[in-house]
């Protein structure tokens, strides 16, 4: 199965919000954020929000790159490794104080939260997603 651009964006938003959101609900209290629980949740969910919004823009770039591939595919490996560029961008935005409502997040907490969420979302997208959403893969990854 290969998603279309629309499908990729929908899937990304859905998985980050649902799977990523649930995951962060669970792990945020044990992250080394160095602040109280309310501020910790504020920080991790800010990261999730920024990752999701920027992700839509990243998808446009990935789509353009795909056009140079005969198969118009996006290998599983790319889906995994793009976590690096996306993670770095989000980190620099937070570390540089560009996100107006956020007081930032510690490096270790960011790495753990981002990496585990990314891997989990990537794993779900590569298999389990098809269990409840059997139409998803033939509809190019679209959910609606």
């Amino acid at each position: 199965m290969l998603p279309t651009l629309n499908g990729r964006i929908q899937t990304r938003i859905f998985l980050l919000v649902v799977v990523g959101g649930l995951w962060l609900l669970i792990i945020t209290p044990i992250l080394p954020t160095g602040v109280g629980i309310g501020a910790s949740y504020g920080a991790t969910f800010s990261v999730l929000l920024v990752t999701t919004v920027l992700g839509v823009l990243w998808e446009l770039l990935y789509h353009a790159i795909q056009q140079f591939r005969w198969e118009k595919d996006w290998p599983t490996l790319f889906g995994f490794l793009t976590g690096i560029n996306e993670g770095l961008l989000v980190w620099f935005l937070f570390a540089g104080g560009v996100i107006p409502w956020s007081d930032g997040i510690t490096g270790p907490a960011f790495v753990i939260a981002f990496a585990t969420t990314w891997i989990l979302v990537w794993l779900v997208a590569n298999g389990p997603m098809r269990v409840p959403f059997v139409h998803w893969r033939i509809n190019g990854g679209r959910l609606v």
């Binding site: 056009q67 790319f78 269990v131 409840p132 959403f133 059997v134």
Partner: protein, 513 residues
């Protein structure tokens, strides 16, 4: 004209004195039948809402979907001459040198035994293959499942959905529309299996999944066979040709191979494996009609890899045909635009596999594998050999060979299949721009509605709004579209997240449904 696919036949039409309950001229001539007409002919009528015939993997995956969507076995009949759904497919893969132990050309998540594609074949095979899928196609070649793995898992699913309870053996002769709505599907049961020569299945829905209409041989091959009645020295790779390999065991032979597709690749591998393992002296001349020496295509955005004569592509189609942007593009396209898209992604090609590359490199280096570019003009037997005249890029060439092994796989016109011809002539079915059966996005055979629908999937529908019809996943995509259309008509239950997850869990536990 054939009544079945290229597979071996089991249900031969009975011969001898006329039997009761046969077709008469009145029935044969009429496009619409009444119940009375069948009663007069003495043909018994069996009522069942959904009939699928062909009985290969196309029928199987469609029935799998419907069973998972809650349709009881009593509402479905599978009319088929085949013993198992994969029999015809296995016959073709085996003769074309992909026995159960070899790998198919199919994606890990194209699993005809599992509508979800999860767990995929690679996942089930174990960690080594997980790694392969993780790195493909950048650092590893595409993972593909072993033929045996596909057949064994289908067998398990076949029993889980109680498929054998729905199977009726025999050969379908025709489908005609019924006055008052629905269809009659005429089955010729095996000799002695029924009291009448024919049985009519009266249904609201019919699914046509007869597979490849037949093999078509290139004119030079047909001409050679007609003129010299020699079926041994000039063979097509889709026919049984084990005698060729066995002859090579006994004496050194020179073989001319024609074709640039996966069958040519597999046949070459078999010949070279034999050569290596048995120390044979087999010489190979490979004739390419078109020689691909580099990446090729109409634009920088549509460039397919190629080298040494071959065009390379992981699967039968570019990957995004099964869900990605190419699927969407073709679905939205019409007429000439669609034909252009088909043409761009068409053309003979083969997957990149390291063992094949190594073998052919070695053959070129050591001089026992040589390549020619051109076309065969004429073939004639000379003693035990075949003399072949070729128009090559180097001018006319003449050579003698022990065997000519044709690895081109042309498909016959759909009219070659008796039931498909009847659908075109009597049931309102039409042809698409590529000449196959014209279907809609729901895989409904356009023009055949009659208070019910006829659906079709598989090779006979190539050229429609979905390109990958003759692949494992393509058959499942067709099955899903058909199931969804039947759900809309109230025949099956909706496959939402709840049912889908629940049914998947049953699959995991191999719970019979």
């Amino acid at each position: 004209m054939s009544e079945s696919t290229i597979a071996p036949q089991h249900a031969q039409p009975p011969s001898g004195p006329p039997q009761p309950g046969d077709l008469n001229d009145h029935l044969i001539a009429n496009d619409f039948w009444t119940d009375q007409m069948l009663a007069e002919a003495g043909i018994p009528i069996i009522d069942v809402p959904f009939v699928t015939f062909g009985g290969g993997i196309g029928s199987f995956v469609t029935v799998d979907y419907l069973r998972i969507c809650g349709v009881p076995t009593s509402a479905i009949r599978v009319l088929t001459p085949l013993k198992t759904p994969w029999e015809s497919y296995e016959y073709l893969t085996t003769v074309s040198q992909v026995p159960r132990t070899e790998r198919l050309r199919s994606d890990s998540a194209s699993t005809p035994d599992n509508i979800w594609g999860f767990p995929s074949y690679a996942f089930r095979e174990g960690p080594k293959q997980w790694w392969n899928v993780f790195l493909e196609p950048i650092f590893t070649r595409y993972y593909t499942p072993k033929a045996g793995h596909a057949f064994i898992s289908m067998e398990k699913e076949m029993h889980r959905i109680r498929y054998p309870e729905m199977v009726v053996h025999g050969q379908v002769r025709m489908v005609r529309r019924r006055v008052g709505g629905g269809y009659f599907t005429i089955l010729t049961p095996p000799e002695g299996a029924a009291a009448t020569r024919r049985i009519a299945y009266r249904s609201q829905w019919v699914h046509v999944a007869v597979g490849y209409p037949g093999l078509k041989f290139l004119p030079d091959l047909q001409k050679y066979r007609q003129e010299y009645n020699d079926f041994a020295k000039v063979v097509n790779a889709y026919e049984p040709h084990e005698h060729l390999y066995e002859t090579a065991y006994k004496r050194p032979v020179t073989i001319l191979i024609r074709g640039g597709g996966i069958v040519a690749s597999r046949v070459l591998q078999r010949i070279i494996d034999d050569r290596d393992q048995r120390g044979l002296q087999t010489q190979i001349v490979h004739l390419f009609r078109g020689y691909v020496d580099k990446a090729h295509g109409p634009s920088i955005f549509k460039r397919r890899r190629g080298a040494d004569g071959w065009a390379y592509q992981g699967f039968n189609y570019p990957k995004s045909v099964w869900g990605g942007q190419l699927k969407q593009q073709v679905r939205k396209s019409h007429g000439e635009e669609r034909a252009k898209l088909y043409k761009e992604m068409g053309g003979t090609n083969t997957p990149l596999r390291n063992d094949w590359l190594e073998q052919l490199d070695r053959g070129r280096r050591e001089g026992w594998y040589r390549v020619m570019i051109g076309q065969i003009d004429n073939m004639r037997p000379v003693g035990n050999l075949v003399e072949v005249a070729v128009s090559s890029d180097q001018g006319p060439q003449l050579g003698t060979f022990d065997f000519v092994l044709d690895c081109t796989g042309l498909e016959a016109d759909i009219r070659e299949h008796r039931v498909l011809a009847d659908l075109l002539d009597h049931s309102g079915a039409g042809r698409n721009p590529v000449g196959r059966l014209d279907i809609g996005t729901n895989f409904e055979l356009l023009g055949t509605q009659n208070g019910g629908k006829i659906y079709a999937s598989g090779s006979a529908t190539l050229g429609g709004p979905f390109p990958g019809v003759d692949t494992f996943f393509g058959l499942q995509i067709a099955a899903q579209e058909i199931a969804d259309d039947l759900i809309k008509q109230g025949f099956a239950k909706k496959l939402g997240p709840g049912r889908s997850t629940g049914q998947w869990w049953k699959w995991v536990r191999n719970r019979q449904i």
